[in-house]
């Protein structure tokens, strides 16, 4: 039939696409059971973060019964016990997921985004630009990551956006390094030369032709950075440089009074500690699996 689109070009319907994603997920889970387990943990934490008000049995900052339910051990009523001020620890852990997920994802997106863009443009332009950006990355790289974050918080002040900036800056150099080597490999290929010969603009070449080929290494480094970002946020909170109290935060909740009461109520530091470790463990497992799938050189390795 002239005029009508052939069947093979029709864009698939939403249901079809959903089905395809589900099938791909299933194949991934079959091939990488550990990665799928990690994925489940991550999705679980995300859901906990999003639906915190519905899941948490108590408001996270409420002193239950006017603060009389202090240091109660884990029970049916309080599955994770209560802290020294009579707050329900389970509720604080669930609400704590919000901060960890928010800061973890946004800082990784910010940091890897900046790093990838810097690398895309500087490596494609080459010459002096490449040199300058590389030296800048060297300089950033020579600061221990947590120390950079501490000092940025010291300079900018304690708040969620500043946490995101501070933790994001830390991942810029590693992303830039990885993406740069991918760009250098793609830059010399014939199809890029063909695009140049056809008179494509530099912006078009970078975004249309080079960037898609750097997606795999980018995703690998981004997922690998997520766990680190969550650890950094928790460490900053632990040092008293995270969001100010009484907002629930895993890192701070396992220090301070938790340490003081640790002998009496070991669940106070242990519960948020498990939450952090489990989440980071999930991100690491997922990141490993994604790396194995996307990087053919590593197949069959770790």
């Amino acid at each position: 039939m002239p005029g009508s689109t052939p069947a093979y070009v029709t864009s698939s319907s939403f249901a079809e696409r959903l089905w395809r994603i589900a099938a791909a997920t299933l194949i991934f889970a079959r091939r990488k059971p550990l990665g799928a387990a990690g994925g489940l943990i991550v999705v679980g934490m995300l859901l906990a973060a999003i639906f915190a008000p519905y899941l948490a049995p108590y408001p996270p900052e409420e002193f239950i019964d006017g603060g009389s339910a202090r240091l109660k051990p884990p029970s049916l009523e309080f599955p994770m016990g209560t802290d020294n001020l009579g707050r329900d620890i389970l509720s604080r852990v669930i609400y704590g997921a919000r901060l960890s997920m928010l800061v973890g994802f946004l800082s990784t997106i910010f940091g890897t985004g900046v790093g990838a863009l810097l690398a895309l443009f500087s490596a494609y332009a080459g010459g002096i630009w490449d040199l300058i950006v590389q030296r800048l990355m060297d300089i950033l790289w020579s600061f221990p990551s947590l120390i950079v974050a501490i000092v940025i918080i010291a300079v900018l002040g304690r708040s969620v956006p500043n946490l995101i900036i501070a933790i994001g800056i830390v991942v810029i150099p590693s992303t830039a390094r990885v993406v740069r080597s991918a760009v250098l490999a793609v830059k010399e290929t014939e199809y890029v030369q063909a695009a140049e010969a056809a008179g494509a603009s530099r912006l078009r070449i970078v975004f249309q032709h080079i960037a898609p080929n750097c997606v795999a290494p980018y995703l690998i480094i981004a997922t690998a950075s997520l766990g680190g970002a969550i650890i950094t946020e928790a460490s900053l909170s632990f040092l008293g440089l995270g969001v100010p109290p009484p907002a629930p935060s895993w890192g701070r909740d396992l220090f301070g009074s938790a340490q003081k009461f640790a002998e009496l109520a070991p669940w106070m530091p242990i519960m948020p500690g498990i939450a952090i470790s489990l989440t980071v463990y999930g991100f690491n497992l997922l990141g490993d699996a994604i790396r194995d799938v996307l990087d053919p050189r590593l197949r069959g390795g770790w």
């Binding site: 501490i150 040092l239 390795g301």
Partner: protein, 381 residues
């Protein structure tokens, strides 16, 4: 080889100067007036006078104190000693001079006592470019001014805290190498068997447990099960080795835990790659024993990537150290840095930042040189 070493050294120098520049600008993008921020007590709104702000600007190196004796008053009084006074005044400590001037106390300038009313003191802001040149020059000589908190040279403070941190870093590095490399090798030669699975679980756990959490678990289990805590008063290694070991062992372990995970992983995958090479098969078919093949033939080549990661992780380990020192309440540089940040002691923050960056750069440099030493292919590039 030598041209490579020189090139690498030069790059290191460029990086360190870049680091110094970054530290300089970092302290100058503090929102608002850094002097006012440094003066405002955390959590308290104390009244800050204009004089205090000026004094703070001098301490931070943002402003300088210009002092001139009033000639018409002092020259007739002192006569021939007048030029001597000018010199003595210039040699005085600027902050002390400003303090005495604002409080109206008599000033002792090299034995000559002058009253504040007899001299002119002016606080003048230094242009940014001059500030920068001064900062660069001072940091080359390790002059970072006085700590704002205790009013003593930052370098002295620094040297007081340094031994604790250094001993933990060294012990942690030794632990990492001693545990991680055998663990990784074992994992590789027993691939997909019990030893391998245990090794893998341990190393992923190492990556997932924040070091302060490991520290907390250690403290908790020591207290709950053994009713024992490491001695709190710090003693240097050379004075009481056993006592100091008891104190440093657990913090070093907490720092090493994450490193062990990463290094064991790296050793394992690098070992696996090498064990599949042709020359290893040749060694097997020659009838060499497993010990010789693994430790002599394979490890030599598998070691290089591990070495690189070890160097890169040095900075990461220092980061972990900050929280571990906090958790164990040890008087190390990490604790010092966090305290300085909380008290907005910018001079100390700058110095600590600069010094750690130098250490990391040096560690990377050493690793690169070691790499070139072990791998002749790098040397001739």
């Amino acid at each position: 080889m030598w041209s490579y070493v020189i090139k690498r050294l030069l790059l290191g120098v460029v990086t360190i100067y870049g680091v110094a520049t970054l530290v300089f600008f970092l302290m100058r993008i503090v929102p608002g007036d850094p002097a006012r921020v440094a003066l405002s007590e955390p959590g308290r709104d104390a009244k800050v006078s204009e004089e205090m702000v000026k004094a703070m600007r001098v301490k931070l190196g943002f402003a300088e104190v210009i002092v001139m004796p009033k000639r018409s008053v002092l020259e007739p009084k002192l006569g021939a000693k007048y030029p001597q006074l000018i010199e003595a005044l210039q040699a005085l400590d600027r902050s002390a001079l400003l303090g005495a001037y604002t409080s109206g106390a008599p000033i002792n300038a090299g034995g000559i006592i002058v009253r504040p009313s007899e001299i002119d003191v002016e606080v003048r802001n230094i242009p940014l470019l001059t500030q920068y040149i001064q900062w660069m020059w001072n940091s080359t000589r390790f002059e970072f001014g006085n700590s704002l908190k205790v009013n003593r040279p930052v370098v002295d403070e620094w040297l007081r805290y340094f031994p604790v941190t250094a001993s933990i870093v060294i012990l942690a590095a030794v632990m990492t190498v001693v545990v991680a490399i055998p663990l990784g090798i074992l994992s590789a030669i027993r691939q997909d068997r019990m030893a391998d699975y245990i090794g893998r679980v341990v190393s992923i756990a190492g990556l997932s447990f924040p070091s302060f959490w490991v520290a907390m678990l250690i403290i908790l289990s020591l207290v709950i099960w053994f009713g024992w805590l490491p001695p709190l008063e710090y003693v240097p290694v050379w004075e009481a080795p056993w006592q100091s070991m008891k104190q440093i062992f657990f913090p070093a372990f907490a720092v090493a835990f994450a490193q062990i995970g990463l290094m064991a992983r790296m050793t394992r995958s690098s070992m696996l790659e090498v064990l599949r090479e042709d020359y290893i098969r040749t060694a097997w078919s020659k009838g060499l024993g497993e010990r010789v093949i693994v430790l002599k033939h394979a490890l030599k080549n598998a070691f290089l990537p591990v070495l690189t990661v070890f160097g890169l992780q040095f900075g990461f380990a220092i980061g972990g150290l900050v929280v571990v020192e906090r958790a164990f309440n040890l008087p190390g540089l990490g604790n010092y840095l966090v305290d300085s940040v909380v008290f907005r002691d910018y001079n100390s923050v700058q110095a600590t930042l600069f010094a750690t960056a130098i250490f990391v750069t040096l560690a990377n440099l050493l690793v690169d040189l070691a790499y070139a030493w072990f791998n002749p292919r790098i040397r001739y590039q």
